[in-house]
Amino acid sequence: MNDTKKPLLAIEALHTRFHTQDGVVNAVDGVDFNVYQGETLGLVGESGCGKSVTALSILQLLRCPPAEIQGNIRFEGVNLLNLDQEAIRKVRGSAISMIFQEPMTSLNPVLTIGEQISEAVRLHEGMRYQEAWKWAVNMLQMVQISGPRARAREYPHKLSGGMRQRAMIAMALSCNPQLLLADEPTTALDVTIQAQIMDIMVRLKEEFKTAIVLITHDLGVIAEMASRVVVMYAGKVVEEAPVKDLFKDPRHPYTRGLLGSIPVIGHKAQTGRRLQEIPGIVPRPLETPLGCRFHPRCSSVMDICRKQEPPMIHLTEYRRVNCWLEAS
């Protein structure tokens, strides 16, 4: 699981707030977790849980103000949040890269694919134009785009969704980053294309030894690709566990509810037509419940849950749950 105890990325007490006209939205409200070298950490949750904002905070890709990021994001001994614009720019795309959900809108429409991929190596590795271009073509080959030399000269609109996502992966890996933040990388893609992209990511990860933070709401993708999982709800971490433990023995009622509510092919025979439901809805950003944020929807709610925020209980070295049920 982790070869060394020292994490590659250590997030501590991360708070990301948005100052809006209607009030302060605590999108990430006291989050901490580690990412170890070479691992794939799944970051799972539904809309509004703060998983995307967490990733954007790591690379300071949020406009501050209205955003305000506080906390400690330690990478190679340095708190990334203390870096100025110049310094963080050196980190982005080289040591830490990111790929986004909508490949249609994340690629620059007026630059060719080749230019966009080679831009990173020109800036970070100081390669000359020709050399960088060759590198870009090589990267396109690695992500299995056929006819890479011709493709490199094309603009994003000429490529399909799957190909654009591959181009984005090529861009993100071109400088051999230690950490890749993948924000819903396959959500917008058809399932057969999703399978291709997942396959490429797994193989490239093995080749480049990159650690990945895989952000998604799709528990199937998590089960396949992640080794450890962090579950988020309404801006907080509610559970963290190795992937097998999470699926076999989920401890937080939200995790249990989530796992029970997904339809799985072939399970109808045993579980029947009715899926397990989590009643209610995710709290609105400015209407955070008192006490445990999940309590209005929890089937095991106790009196204390309504009044006080639960403590984080460490079950083992790699398992923790944010729940009053575990406190007793």
């Binding site: 799957g162 190909m163 396959d199 998590i222 097998k244 092919i265 072939g266 109808k268």
Partner: protein
């Protein structure tokens, strides 16, 4: 007798080019679809982007006019109906849309949205309509106190419930569900899926359930049709399709779905390349360019959609 009987349905969109808007080609969005739907059953229609499944749903309701084919609903030929007669039939043939944001009029409150079909079709007194709206709201799990609220005040899942209440307003026999849960969070999807199943049981509804998520489709459907580039490639019961998929595309689709169980390591069938454009579909079998088993005949001859036995239909030269 089937409630809905569709034969060789086609919808082609002409592509016009040039100053004189000459038709230079056709997007064969739906290219010969045949199926039946019985009372109380759910037929799932699954396929990836551009396969034409949404167009099928809208063509059946004549929200888009089909190019050719036959649609018989409750014994009536839908394509031969005049405007007024079609309008009356639509009371029994309803639709729920994918986007809970754009499918509700933002300037109408919940009560008005749900009452609209009743007002359009029946001459009921206001008190009656109000009662019916309240009844429908409760049936879909909405609080009746919210009857005067506007769509933007509700969550995505709640808006989808409003859409369902609206579709139920006239006691339909068939509801076309066009990606009804795709835009919703996972935990809300379960709520809406359960609601649809419950309503089906209570009201003996038939669903044509259109979606790209095979897990959702398999869960809710009795029979499933797999679609590729405007045509059905396979149609079978949910169990048959899951346990015994015959068409190479169905097999690839099933193997591509990620399973939420880390202990299971799937042997994946990875398809090469992307889905071809419906503007320029491949010759012969539309799937042949990506088929791992492609033979010579597949490249120039279109396979016939036929019954393998036991009502398991397939369009493939190799089975």
């Amino acid at each position: 007798m089937a409630l809905l009987d569709v034969k060789n349905l086609k919808k082609h969109f002409p592509v016009k080019k040039g100053v004189l808007s000459r038709t230079v080609g056709n997007v064969r969005a739906v290219d010969g679809i045949t199926f039946t739907l019985k009372r109380g059953e759910t037929l799932g229609l699954v396929g990836e982007s551009g396969c034409g499944k949404t167009t099928v749903g809208r063509s059946i309701l004549r929200l888009i006019e089909p190019t050719s084919g036959q649609i018989t609903f409750n014994g009536q030929d839908l394509l031969g109906l005049e405007r007024e007669a079609l309008r009356r039939v639509r009371a029994s043939l309803q639709i729920i849309f994918q986007d809970p944001f754009s499918s509700l009029n933002p300037r109408m409150n919940v009560g008005q949205i749900i009452a609209e079909p009743i007002k359009n079709h029946l001459k009921e007194p206001r008190a009656e309509i109000k009662n019916r709206v309240a009844y429908l709201m409760e049936k879909v799990g909405l609080h009746t106190e919210q009857i005067s609220r506007y769509p933007h005040e509700f969550s995505g899942g709640q808006r989808q419930r409003i859409g369902i209440a609206r579709a139920l307003a006239l006691n339909p026999k068939v509801i076309i569900c066009d990606e009804p849960v795709s835009a919703l969070d996972v935990s809300i999807q379960a709520q809406v899926i359960n609601l649809l199943a419950q309503l089906q049981e209570q009201m003996n509804l038939s669903y044509l359930f259109i979606a790209h998520d095979l897990s959702v489709v398999e869960h809710i459907s009795d029979r499933i049709a797999v679609m590729y580039l405007g045509r059905f490639v396979e149609l079978a019961t949910d169990k048959e399709l899951y346990q015994n998929p015959q068409h190479p595309y169905s097999q690839a689709l099933l193997s591509a779905v990620p399973v939420p169980d880390p202990e299971i390591h799937k042997q994946r069938i990875l398809l090469e390349g992307d889905v071809p454009s419906p503007l320029n579909p491949p010759s012969g079998c539309a799937f042949h360019t990506r088929c791992p088993e492609c033979k010579d005949v597949c490249t120039h001859e279109e396979p016939v959609f036929r019954d393998l036995g036991g009502d398991h239909w397939i369009a493939c030269h190799l089975r």
